[in-house]
């Protein structure tokens, strides 16, 4: 089974867009970002010095419900911490992130949204990069399941996720901070610490930071670190877009 794949700018009308698919969890998400735009319903009394961030999640087969409102709130809280909404041109305007779940299993009422959360985070960060929205850091996220014997499963399929004791989604910034953690199911703190170590390795490789501040990406048992996926996708895109210049040089 291959690792996750991503592409930048699949949509031509949006300011920025990205698609992301993770074969292991079966999730496939298409996201677009429009920023900065004028929001019609914006009230200036509400934080006039900052940009308003709006996230919309559209499930593939069903109309959106309370589960989508919840996950939109999670994404908004996480992303608003890394989007620099006070840069020039952004205050009082809006950053609108729209995420459509294109493939994968549909999520029923009251069911856990965690299996698709890493894909939604990756899609939105790539779409934000593609729209050139100022960010303080980038993020990478992963989902891990722990079964009742304590074994950690990376990126479980939806059938696996239903059978496990606990599910954990962790998102790390490119500087190694834990930005987001969503865990559910019965577990204890020692289990979570093991999950944390494993997730950090998946997102950042074994050695997180070199002495010169460069991120040293090392191949591990978990193949390429996810942080590298975000970088490589953007680098590839730049190579394509600047091909005329690189060839001329």
């Amino acid at each position: 089974m291959g690792g996750p794949t991503a592409s930048l700018h699949p949509l031509s009308r949006a300011d920025g867009s990205a698609s992301y698919r993770c074969p292991a969890t079966g999730s496939n998400v298409l996201g677009s970002v429009n920023a900065p735009i004028e929001l019609p319903g914006r009230r200036d009394a509400l934080k006039p010095e900052d940009a308003t961030i709006e996230v919309f999640v559209k499930p593939g087969t069903a109309p959106g419900g309370v589960g989508e409102r919840h996950i939109e709130g999670i994404l908004r809280d996480a992303l608003s911490r890394i989007i620099l909404g006070r840069e020039k041109g952004y205050p009082r305007r809006g950053v609108v992130i729209t995420l459509a779940i294109v493939g994968g299993d549909s999520i029923g009422r009251g069911a856990s949204y965690l299996p698709i959360l890493p894909a939604l985070l990756h899609t939105s960060i790539l779409a934000l990069l593609s729209a050139s929205v100022p960010l303080s850091m980038s993020i990478s996220a992963t989902i891990l399941a722990v079964d009742s014997s304590g074994k950690i499963i990376r990126e479980p399929s939806s059938a696996d996720a239903a059978a496990t004791a606990s599910l954990h989604v962790l998102a790390f910034t490119s500087k190694g901070h834990l930005l987001l953690n969503e865990s559910e199911g019965a577990f204890n703190f020692d289990t979570w610490e093991r999950v944390y170590e494993r997730a950090l390795t998946i997102c950042h490789g074994t050695s997180a930071l070199g002495s010169d501040g460069d991120v040293a990406m090392t191949e591990t048992v978990d193949s390429q670190p996810l942080e590298g996926l975000v970088r490589d996708t953007v680098e590839d895109r730049i190579h394509v877009e600047y091909a005329w210049k690189i060839d001329a040089a």
């Binding site: 939109e72 911490r81 840069e87 901070h177 834990l178 865990s183 559910e184 204890n188």
Partner: protein, 411 residues
Amino acid sequence: MASSAAVSTAPPALSLPPSQFARLQPHAYLLAHLSPPASSQQPSIRANGRAPSQFRVTSTNTGSLTHTNGSSVVRLGDTTAVCGIKAEILHTEDIASWSVSHSSSSSTPNKRRKLTNPTEKPGEDRQDGSDEVEDDDSYIEDFSLLVPNLSLSTGCAPGFIPGAPPSALAQSLSHRVLSLLHSSRLVRSEDLEIWYQRPNLGPEELERHNEDEQMDVDVEQDGSGSVGETREIKAFWVLYIDIMIISLAGNPFDAAWTAVLAALRDTKLPRAWWHADNETVICSDLVSEARRLSLRGLPVASSFRVFEADAASGWRAVIVPDAEEERKIAESDRKGIQRRWVLADPDGYEEGLAQERVCLVIDKDQRQNGKVVIVKMEKNGGFAVDRKELKELVAVSAQRWEEINKILGQC
């Protein structure tokens, strides 16, 4: 009158009362409370007079609403939640997928799966030594037997207009309550099942019939005989859990979840059975026959917010210390100035000032000397809380569990 005016002219009234300062400079106001100057000899205390890890006074009252099966009022400081639980009957013939997937005999594959592979169940279950056959909880999720709804449009806070459609916050809270009910497996589906015990028709009675009728009966008996019992589920109780936040001063989730817990503990379902002749479910009106739900454990929610001394930390272009440096700074923190405070049970004022939030749902396993089991751990919106901080918060939440356990035990 004139003399008093003359006296007050001396100091120009530029000093503001604390309440106005709190409105004009909320961040500085809270920071001044949390880090008083060293010379003043005052303890670090929140603007509302609580210590950073102190929760508000919590009180509960159950069974106030007579038209519900169970109800509760929970006050968490000035946040008040009312929860009412109404049970309604869902006939299995009204469930479209029932006849396909779960006819009378087909509940056995589920049970069989459980019995052959008990290790696949979450840890909580294996400790339930008392129930011999594990109850299949997929019914609750598959047929939506628990329907929580949380309403904020009650005029609970100035921002929420009565009669408006449910806000994103209300929808999100409803979803969190529902997903926590599912993931903590608090309600047992065996409590919600209404069974029908088929009368045992003795075979000697049947032998008097003629030959071909007996054949039919035999076939039927073989089919049900393999199950062992002639029982089948005829209906389910559906619990409508309605939560009204009638006053909102921060931390609605803790209040709502505590209200749900208290109401579920208060819920009594009447004895119900299937009446074969009328083909309907009959409920007993005797209070003595009604039974309470047997809940699994007591998951207690505690929420926290992180207040940063640096007002610009939320929007600085270069978040300077990376995670490694951050830990070193934290070491030297204890000697010098504290830069951030984790505030337990934030009120509305603090919620507006602190972006990063943590929510922990903790249960203690009574069979294993009160071993702490984390049911849900959410952390979002910031970089301050990492492993070390979360470990401390788990300990704080474990204390909170004791408090709530005592409060709920009293009502």
